[in-house]
Structures are given as structure tokens and as C-alpha cells.
Amino acid sequence: MRSERTAMVKYEPVIGLEVHAQLLTESKIFCGCSTRFGSEPNANTCPVCAGFPGVLPVLNKRVVEFAIRAGLATHCQIARSSRLARKNYFYPDLPKGYQISQYELPLCVNGYVEIDSQTHKRVRLTRIHVEEDAGKNIHDVRADASLVDLNRAGVPLLEIVSEPDLRSAEEAPVYFRTLRAILQYLAICDGNMEEGSLRCDANVSVRAQGSDALGTKVEIKNLNSFKAVENAIRYEIQRQSDTLEEGGTLLQETRLWDENREVTRSMRSKESAHDYRYFPDPDLPPVIVDESWLTQIEATLPELPDRRRARLIADYELSAYDAELLTARKDIADYFESAVAMHQNAKAISNWIVGDLFRVLKERKLDEQLTVSLWPIQPAQLAELVKLIDQGKISGKIAKAVFDSLLDSPRSPADVVAEKGMEQVSDSASLDSAIDEVLAVHGKQVADYRGGNDKIFGFLVGQVMKATRGKANPLMVNAILKRKLAASNAS
């Protein structure tokens, strides 16, 4: 990548994202079939979602409600009348030969998402519309045939289209994460990218720094993780900048991100792009949203990430950084607050979460996993652990050991401490004798300390802790040791 620096300086990237979010409704968008993931192939199908002759779609009202929630949370205007439209193309996973989507009159328009609480940078949203998902073609089960699974056909999706307001590869996942947090807070999408319930395409172009014109746009598909979004866009900015730098021209095209080779590959050019022949679906009347319904939905909106972050800072005196980490996902913020409700030491609980818990989640690759119930330590356990420290029953160091042995176990921390005899030794009689022993064995060091070598103190504390297998209350050890050393000195 020889020209990286020159190109990056000369060209400004212009990026917009198209996000598809699978909605958490029980049933599909146009029929009563279940939306459950992971069922037997074609188990969740009926004549309607399998596109049989004579069937008609009936819009699931909940889908509209969820879309309105998303629209309100992202400051969109909600259309009082919008339309579903047919997007026509042939593919075996598309049973009707058209996808019911929205085209000219989407449900939500002109919104924005604030992606930085410091600078208040906004990414504008062009539109949010509802549509149905397609099924899945399976090519690797049989050698002689491709198979079609229509379980996903008709599962409701939101398509959220941003304006080209992003200006770097790093900014794109920030926006995407912020959007995901909003959808999760609204409880309308689980945000699970591995199962495909949240997907992203990126539109990327570059232009000369300082220019207002838009460059030739490339759409990148198959971005299935935050990392992929960032890496693919970074690659694409570089590729486009290099091409222009070398005097080449860019094609308006669709490219596919190849995760393994970390490159984008051309999929189809603008000339071979589909003509989808959109037109309003005559089977579905306009979607009418009246004021009372809108007011009702507005009233049930939950606290969104921005407000929750501000509240955590105010109520628990957390740093902006910690509050940001804790509110990035609704389930983490819920975890935090339910632990704090059981033991009011927010700062310590926050430290445990953003420190040890996040480390374990990351090690176990659970950091994208959205079910808190699957996490290896539950809020009640964490709260109790912090409480044991605060009560002086265990030291911070012992607590780490207790934390490790609690992983994947429903036991209470107190039980672990009792069972393993890890409780801190705080009674002065036993500490006295332990310290006396250490002082007796390490006469040379004691003499050195008394000779003015203060550093030896730490060594002596260490020996006491070692003798008590870490259980000695360190504050008391410090106090008793100091007293004894001073006393002997004086004598």
C-alpha cells in the first residue's frame, strides 16, 4: 500500500450505510408463521410465505409499530400514509418473484442518529422502511441440486438508509453500533449479526479534499461484523484513492467483501444492475398511521442510550468513558443497574464489568452474544462479590480468585469463600503470631529496615501474605507490622 498516506490526504471518503434489521415479532410480516430461527428447513412456512397461487398478504400491525418506534427514536418524520411496493426479480429464495418492500412512500423519513456525545456529530437518515426477508438457497447439502429453505421468507425487516454523512472507515462502525444500541433499547431487534438479524451494506465513494461533489459510488455487500464494516470500507477507500491517483476511473458497481482475503471483489456493474420494476402492491391498501396510535407508541418508548448514559453519569458518578461502555448495549446497562440495585457500590461494579467481565466475554467470544443469561457470572453474584470486599471479608486479590471460580457456576460468592477457606484473616491475635513468625525468620531484613531501608517493608508484608495464603487483611497487616517494627526499634 505504497500510496496510503498521499491518497488519504488527497481524498476524502464519503460513506453511507444501509442497515437491515430483523424485527423481533413473533410472526412473519404477511402471514401467521413463526419467525423462530433455527427450525427444521421449511417448518415455518404456509401457502402465503411460500408464494402459492391465490394467496394474499396481510400486514402484521406489530411490524408497523416497531418501525414507528425506530422512526421516533431516530427523530424521523412518520408518514401518516405510506405504501408497500413490489420489487420484482427472479430468484429461487424469493417465492413470489417479487419482494414486498417500500419504495416511493416509506414509513419514516428525514431522521438522524447522534454518534458522538462529545462533538454531537449527527448522521442523517434518509428513510426507514419495512419489508420482507427472502428465504435461503442451500448449495452444499446435495451435489446434484440446490435446496431452498423458506423459513426466513417473510420475516420482517427494517431497512435503515443513512445519508452519506460518514467520513472515515472508523466512523462507520461507530454509527452502526449506535444504531444497533438504539434498536436493542427499543427491543425491536436482537442485533445478532452472526445469525444475520442485523446486516449492513456500505456505499463508499471518495472525492478530492475540499470538494463538494460526490464521487462514483460503490456499494459493498456482505458486511457481517463491525470489523468487516471497518475493514471493507478502509480497503475500499484505499482502492478508490489508488485508482484515482494512478489516473484511473471508478465504476459504479456492487462489490462483495471477501472476509478471508480481506479484499472487495466486483459483483455486478451498474449496466447489469436489476431493473426492479417497482410499483405499489395492489394487494395492500396504504398504511395509515393516525395520531392516537402514534401518541400511544411514543408514550411507550423506553429510555434510549443517550439519556441512559447521561443518567448513569449523574446518578452513579461514573466517568463518561465507563458510562459509554456500559450503555453501548442495553443488556449491559441492565446488568449493571440490576447489580447496583443489590449492592450500592456503582463504581466498583462498573470496574468489574468493564474490566474482568468484558475480558472474559471477549476471551470466550461472548462479546457479541446478546443473552445476558448466558454470561458466565450473573449480576447477583457480582454484587455479592463486591459486597464481600466492601465488608472486608475478602481482599481484592482474593476476589479475583473468587471471580474466576464463580465462572459458569451458579454458586454464591460467599459459599465459594467459605468452602475454600478464603475469608480474610482480620483477627489481630492470629495476625500477631503470623507476623511474629515472619519477623523471627527474617531477622536480616528486619535489621535492614530498621537501618533505614524502607523498601524492605513491602517484602515483609509479602511474606506475611504468603504465610497466610493471601487471606490476611492487608490493611491490618500493614498497621500491625508498622507498629511491631517501630516498637522493636524503640526498645
Partner: protein, 485 residues
Amino acid sequence: MSLCALTLHEASERLRKRELSCRELTAAVFAQIAKTDDRVHSYITLDRKNAEACATKADEAFRIGTPASPILGIPIAIKDNFLTRGLRTTCASKILGDFMPPYDATAVARLRAQGAIIVGKTNLDEFAMGSSAENSAFFPTRNPWDSERVPGGSSGGSAAAVAADQCIAALGTDTGGSIRQPAAFCGIVGLKPTYGRVSRYGIIAFASSMDQVGPMTKDVRDAALLLETIAGHDPADSTSVKRAVPNYAAALSGEVKNLRIGVPKEYFVAGMQQETEAAVRAAVRQLEKSGAAVEEVSLPHSEYAVAVYYIVATAEASSNLARYDGMRFGHRAQAKDLLETYLASREEGFGAEVKRRIMLGTYALSAGYHDAYYLKAQQVRTLIKKDFEDVFRRVDVLITPTAPTTAFKIGEKTQHPLQMYLSDIYTISVNLAGLPALSLPCGFDAQKLPIGMQIIGKSFDEATILNLAYGYEQSTEWHKKKPAL
């Protein structure tokens, strides 16, 4: 008179009085089919075994005195674009192969729930695209009045079956005249209800914004009875309307006094058959004598209706027919890859007229042409609707001929699609506007072929149409004439 010649209400009354059993009636219908259908070719599929079982059940229901619906035990023919659970449904197309529906169309389910006996599935123009029942992938249906002539279309099989007494009544569908034009050609009553009056669920879609299910019967009272049975909101069809269904039959009085009838001048044009014009004008005069007020009105955008229709209907059809791709049901050609499979399956499965309409509709929606064709057509459609709204502020109903001519000869128009399209010139506007309209016999031409008169009503005002038709019918004998078979 043979039992199969009974009207629905006559048969129902005799069943109720136990003068007749459903088994006898059903047997008479199948005997008539056996006797005549090798000449008429109304049916694609017969369901005799099930019909007999249903007749036995209906007799049992009469025996134990179940409160009887007027439809209970009545043998009814169903156009083969209605899905019938467990009974082969072809839409007169090879592309559906031996498609066995997993569910009943709502209209069929409602008939079955009331104890009707499904006789079989009647022929049609493939995917209901045509005006002569000649575009069937299987065989053309012949007009019972003259076997050299078409029965009209697309519900030609249902119309012929009713006219030939091969059933007591039938269901058809009407997208641009497909109930009314064959009803006129075969000398029966055909009603296209208001768009949204009857559920479209389970009807193989042609043009979704215009398709509508309706009765095809031997007289007006039968049409009223059948409409009552099938009409009403269906949660499975979002375009069906939540409005109470009146007791159409009970309300028939035949009183036409002070009814305001409009006669649109654009519907009487050069080129139409003189005898048709004369018969319709005579019928209007007769109604005037009975106390109706008649005035000439204008529907200025009528001349654009056929053009608008063949853009809107084909655009919707091009999308509706995309699901026939050989993947999940019906005909699949063996080919080397996916694209070839699509192309060959559809090439082999669809007939020429269906392909023509898919191409027309695809073109009309294509990038660069969408605005000039599809969008413009929708704008003109709005003007056509407005024409009707305007005249319906002054009159209660409109009377027109149903078709410009009586039944034409088989093969006469098959090479001239545009001429074929023009045989729906008087019926198409009604579908574009979503209004209800009925065709009933009003005379015969010199060839002894039936002439049909169309009564168009206000939205959801089927009651007024039916009552006017009933009043006229009461004063004539046209509906009692039978073809010699």
C-alpha cells in the same frame, strides 16, 4: 322440465319442501353434463364422487331439519382459477401442471360451509386472459346457443355450464368483463360486485387491483342469493371491505319507479351491432315506461379505458405471474442451469396470450417507460373513476350494452388480439373504477344469439342494480329461453 334446468331458488325451494333430494338434483346435473359436455366443453375437471358424497350429506341435513341455507345441496360450478382444496386447479394453463391446492379460496370455502355441492372446475382463457375461452391450454368451450361460436370469456366455461344446465349456478371472476361478457354471450345473468365486496383470497391473481369474484346464474334472484353467500369481509384479503352484507334477495321488489337511469352516449358508437343497440334501447324505454327516469349522460374519458386497462392489468399480471417459475409447484422444464430452467419452464408452460401480456406489463413497468405508461395510465384511471363519480351524482345507475356484438365465431378474432380486446370495451371501465355491474339478457339477434344489457351501479350499491335487473326481468321472458342442445 328437467331438474337440471331449475334455477337456484326453485331448486332450493323444492329441496326444502322435500319434493326433491340433493342426490336426484346432483344426478340430473351430471346426466346433463354426460349428455352435452362433449359438445360444449364447459368443464376441465369434474368432482363427481365428492359431489355425490356432499349431496348425501346435504340430504341428511335436510332430513334432520338443519336450518337450511338457500345454497344447501345446490350443485355449483367453479371457474378453474379458484383454488379448491384437493381438487386439481389448472387456471387452464400448462404451467400449473396437476397442481393440487392445499386450501380453498374463501368464496369456495363459504359455499362449502353453506352446504353447496361443487360439481367441477370450468374452462377459461388461460389465467383469465381473454374474451372467448379460446385461450385455454386444453380446449375451447363452445357457446350452447351455437357450437360454432365462442361463449365469451374469460369465464366462458362457467357461462356455458349455466346456459347448458350443466349446473344450477356458477362462480366466475371478472377483471375486465370476464363475468359479464360471457354472461351476455350465453344469455345468463352475471354480476361483478364492487371491488372489495367479495374476498379474492384463493383466486389465481391476474390483475389484483381489478379482479373480483361474482355469481353467474340463470336469473337475477339467483345472483342475489349467491352474492349473499360469498360476500363480506375476509381477514385474509386486506382489500376486502368491512361492510355489512345486505339481504339482497329479500330486498328484491322489482320497483323501478323514480329510479334515475343514465345512458352514457359514449357507449353507443359506430361499429357496434345494430341489433344490440336496438335491444338495449328498447329495454331502457321499457324501464322508462315502468316509471324510471332516463337521461343521457357522458363519461368523457371512456375512449381511453381499453388502453389504460391493458397497461394496468398487464403490469400487475407481469408481477403476479412471476411465481410460476417451476420452483415450488407446477411445470418445471429440465435445463442445465437456473436461468435456463426459468426460461424453458415459462416458455413451455405459458400460452401465447399470457406471454404477450407478461411482456406488455414488464415493458410498461420498466425503467425509463414506467412514467410514460404505468404512471400515466394510473392518472387516466383516476379520471375515468371521476367520470363515474360525476354522473353518479345525477343518476342511480347506468345502462349500457354489455358487449358491442353478440357471440362471435370460434377463431374469428384469435389472430387479432386488438379486436379481441375491443370486445370488452363496455365492461373494462367498470373494473378500472371498481364499481359493481351486472349483465342480463335483453333480447336475441337475427342469429338467435342472446344480447346482454349491462347495469352499472354506485360503489357497494349492488342492491339497486339487482332490484332494477329484477324489475326488468319480471317483465320479460328472455331469461327463460333455453338453447337447444
